[in-house]
């Protein structure tokens, strides 16, 4: 991993069109500004983790848990 030191207000350029600026430093928190083309996808890492967790949990469903749901859903 490439590690760079930046001060408040300084930035990093990635390729020609992506810029990451240190907007604010407050205690243990850093606020970053990201300038990127519209088609660039930017997510907090936690989003990917949450999706991965949901996928894993979903893959463990069995037919019996679903049949409980089925009978419940059909009750009027």
């Amino acid at each position: 991993m490439l590690v760079l030191t930046r001060k408040l207000g300084e930035s990093i350029a990635i390729d020609d069109h992506i810029k990451i600026v240190v907007v604010q430093i407050k205690g243990k928190q850093v606020r970053l500004g990201i300038k990127a083309p519209k088609e660039t996808k930017i997510h907090r890492e936690e989003v990917y983790q949450a999706i991965q967790d949901q996928n894993t949990e979903a893959s463990q469903s069995d037919l019996s848990s679903l049949s409980d749901l089925t009978s419940d859903l059909k009750k009027k």
Partner: protein
């Protein structure tokens, strides 16, 4: 070809029904081939079954069933990666999590599975819209839909054995009124 599955036993799957991922689902990157199983239980919940691992299958549903306003907006690069010209040529499913307390069931609206109906190439796409939830509770909406749907007998046949279904065949969107911007106002029936 015959494919063995843990939940449904051996199923006959036609080549045209095999859905192929370039990247796999998040956390399941090694599994690239899937097919859709309709368990025939009239709940509109289908199974996204791995063709490579008999034990891996995900309960899925078309999000429009419980959230008619759900619209998937893809970036040009995402459409390209699926060889799609428009999202209208794709099937969209969300993965369901069904806990012991079934009323707590949820759908992943943040990262739907998008399948090109023609080529059967698929991706789980993380949408940029920050309002979409990874675990959107939707039991009430689904129940409401199923109760009203089941009361119309002409729409459904009786429960049947599990069968493999093609994403485009399984789509209900063509018969259900929807309110996406592309399609404009729905017709009066």
């Amino acid at each position: 070809m015959k494919i063995n599955t843990t939940r449904f036993g051996e199923l006959e799957v036609e080549k045209k029904d095999v859905i192929v991922f370039k990247e796999g689902l998040l956390g399941f990157e090694n599994l690239k081939k899937f097919f859709i199983v309709d368990p025939g239980d009239q709940t509109l919940i289908l199974w996204f079954q791995s063709a490579e691992d008999p034990a891996t299958a995900f309960p899925i549903i078309e999000p429009k069933i419980f959230q008619p306003n759900y619209v998937v907006k893809l970036l040009p690069a995402e459409l390209n990666s699926l060889d799609l010209e428009s999202i209208n040529d794709a099937s969209v499913y969300t993965i369901l999590t069904i806990p012991k307390v079934v009323t707590e069931m949820s759908a992943n609206l943040k990262a739907p599975i998008v399948i090109n109906n023609k080529t059967k190439v698929a991706r789980q796409i993380v949408l940029q819209d920050s309002k979409l939830e990874v675990r959107c509770k939707m039991y009430k909406e689904l129940k409401k839909y199923i109760v009203s749907y089941a009361s119309d007998d002409s729409n459904r046949t009786t429960a049947s054995a599990p069968s493999v279904t093609s994403p485009s065949d399984a789509q209900i969107s063509s018969t259900e009124p929807s309110v996406t911007e592309e399609q404009g106002p729905t017709k009066d029936l």
